[in-house]
Symmetry: none
Subunit: 415 residues, 2 copies
């Protein structure tokens, strides 16, 4: 039989609308993968009685209760006390947690502030959930027939603790019908074009269910397959993924948490080739995306952020005549940035960007959203003109320009 | 007396984690502006009985209930039926809504699909909420002493209908005490240290309420003030902000949506000075943060991402003896990166970073999380050693290193 779950998130910043709760969606997704049905998300303000009552209600109506938030060191962090009150247990200090926190601060050459000590408290019959990436432990408490896992609200701590502690415990319970998800990642086409090419797979009620999402030029295809076993659901996912890859070809660049930068990096590493960058409008974002990938030093040498024209001229060797005649935002300017960086940094490939990220600086001839991305390599230099929308926000233009540059190299390496 | 509200969002895509609910945060914010306290957000899957029971529970415990989602034309859109069941009323067809929907399709030269007709249904004693920007009307239903407003889940339609219909009605109720929020942003201290210095302001039940949050080295202080008028609440916020700034001094770097990069940029622009960067472990992130700010070309010249040692040597002029003797991740290496970039890019200030972002590449002597940030200026070069945690994720180390570098310059400019 399938276990049911509730997810609770605690914090006045959430009920006041100061922050958006992304933890509940992330946790729901993980539960679905484990075959556990999430029935409800509840968010309440920092209020001891309301939180205690909610914990009791959740434990009476769900067998798994996940809680995020309220584990900080300050007076508005009420999760510990609310759990103790809900269970009718006193709070006790967890010696191992206290030791772990002291070590956390010691590793940073700092004494642990006294106030932090409250974070080692837990209800007497509860267990601490270790936090390998931050200070505060979580709390595992059995209440009636339910088990409650309280985790920090900081997403990366919450996710790490879920993966390291909660997920293995839940997986060991065994579940019921399994719902597995897969994400296929695409670049270089639109959501409607892709939707047309896989329309028959997207019929409602079909198993797997297939849906698309679009985010800053990247199209995601999500596949949800249900089956009696992980192997059965996995097989359905594999079948749909193969079909989608067959239909979309090189538009598909990866799956799950793949990134364009990571995929490009693997292609370069496999060839033993190197890459450098010369960025203007993206201001270091292409470089940041590349170096987000651990191990990128195998193929990424570095680059120049030539934001000011003086850097384009002085460091990259763009000619002043080119800027006078065509402007810095031009195909010719982009080409000289790429070529100049390739000569100076001695890389096999150079990606260059120049454009108008806005919101100011646009003109009729060169509107906001006009971006040139260039690729210099031993066989020559390619420049592409992108139109990313005069009304688009600055950040959106920069992200799509950066992704466009990476995709240019990806397609070239696949040729 | 303050009215209280619950916000309900309906949809299996939410409890499965396929979508993040942003509507509840948006609505909470609007309610706070109207002086209505949102106590709870609840999200449930598409399930008729669960939704009916939730509506009854919410109407018994809140005087205002906002519902989003479940108003579409398909079988999993259950809000209409759940409202009718909760109120014990039959569903009837709303003639005006039907006419409005027909006009909506006619204006697009299309016949209304028959399936769409269900969207004109409402409980007998309810009223339709007009939708000026889409097909489906909303529903306003009084249940016991509560009033329920059901709106579509599509954010643009939901927001428009709230602004055009719900907000004026709620404003006319007069509520209320107004609840206003402010956020103070801090860098260079810890949540516990800050918590100790403003502990008396964080006493529960005080007005304003003050709370702290921590995210990758940045500490946020949120102040919530209630008052009979916006002016009164504003004055309370001003008073607490002044007190907090007095106590924390330069640890406070801004408020609301300020960023370290933006604040540093304003300081530079005010002096007419320029900045360049020389990045290794942050791989372009300092530069990306700086150029996220529109207008950053006034003071940011650009920089060098010296990821590979060849770029440190060849472009920045770091000496090979320095790397042989101390390693690229060293105070000496950082200093030469900063000085080299300052000589080559002719900027008033240069920020440099070098470190071990992990997860691999650490050693006993130089563990993951060891980062040097440097600042070169006309008066000399400063280098700081940071310990950002050997178990911290790569991205967290890079973000905190980048922020640490920006904060180094901020503090220098404030001296």
């Amino acid at each position: 039989m399938t276990s049911n779950a509730w997810i609770l998130s605690l914090g006045t910043e959430l009920t006041l609308g100061q922050s958006v709760d992304t933890n509940s969606a992330w946790l729901s997704h993980r539960l679905a993968e484990l075959g556990i049905r999430c029935e409800r998300h509840v968010t309440v303000a920092d209020d001891l009685l309301a939180t205690r009552d909610l914990l009791r209600d959740a434990a009476a109506r769900a067998v798994i209760v996940l809680v995020t938030g309220g584990l900080g060191p300050t007076d508005d962090d009420l999760t510990r006390q609310a759990l103790a009150d809900a269970a009718g247990q006193p709070l006790v200090e967890d010696a191992a947690s206290l030791e772990q926190m002291r070590e956390f601060f010691a590793a940073r050459n700092r004494a642990m502030p006294d106030r932090n000590r409250v974070r080692a408290l837990r209800p007497a019959a509860a267990r601490a959930i270790p936090n390998s990436v931050g200070t505060a432990p979580g709390i595992r408490l059995e209440l009636g027939s339910a088990v409650i896992y309280a985790l920090p609200g900081v997403p990366f701590e919450m996710r790490t603790m879920f993966d390291e502690f909660v997920r293995p415990e839940l997986a060991a319970r065994g579940g019921g019908a399994v719902l597995l998800a897969r994400r296929i990642r695409c670049y270089g086409s639109t959501e409607s074009e892709i939707g047309e090419r896989i329309a028959d797979l997207m019929t409602r009620g079909r198993n797997p269910e297939v849906g698309t999402t679009a985010e800053l030029g990247e199209i995601g295809i999500r596949i949800y397959a249900s089956g009696d076993s992980p192997a059965q659901a996995e097989a359905l996912l594999d079948r749909d993924e193969a079909e989608i890859r067959e239909r979309l070809g090189r538009v598909v660049y990866g799956r799950e948490s793949d990134t364009l930068a990571g995929v490009v990096g693997e292609l370069l590493a496999a060839r033993g080739q190197t890459l450098a960058t010369a960025e203007s409008c993206t201001g270091g974002m292409v470089s940041t995306l590349l170096t987000d990938v651990s191990g990128s030093s195998r193929y990424y040498l570095g680059g120049v952020v030539a934001y000011d024209n003086r850097v384009k001229l002085g460091v990259l060797g763009v000619r002043s005549e080119t800027i006078a005649e065509h402007g810095a935002v031009s195909a010719a300017g982009c080409r000289e940035m790429a070529d100049g960086a390739r000569a100076r940094l001695a890389a096999d490939y150079v990606l260059a960007t120049t454009g108008i990220a806005g919101p100011t600086g646009g003109s009729a001839a060169k509107p906001v959203g006009l971006v040139y991305v260039g690729l210099a390599h031993a066989g020559g230099t390619i420049v592409r003109e992108l139109h990313l929308g005069a009304a688009s926000p600055r950040d959106s233009i920069r992200v799509r320009a950066s992704r466009g540059a990476l995709n240019l190299l990806r397609l070239h390496l696949l040729e």
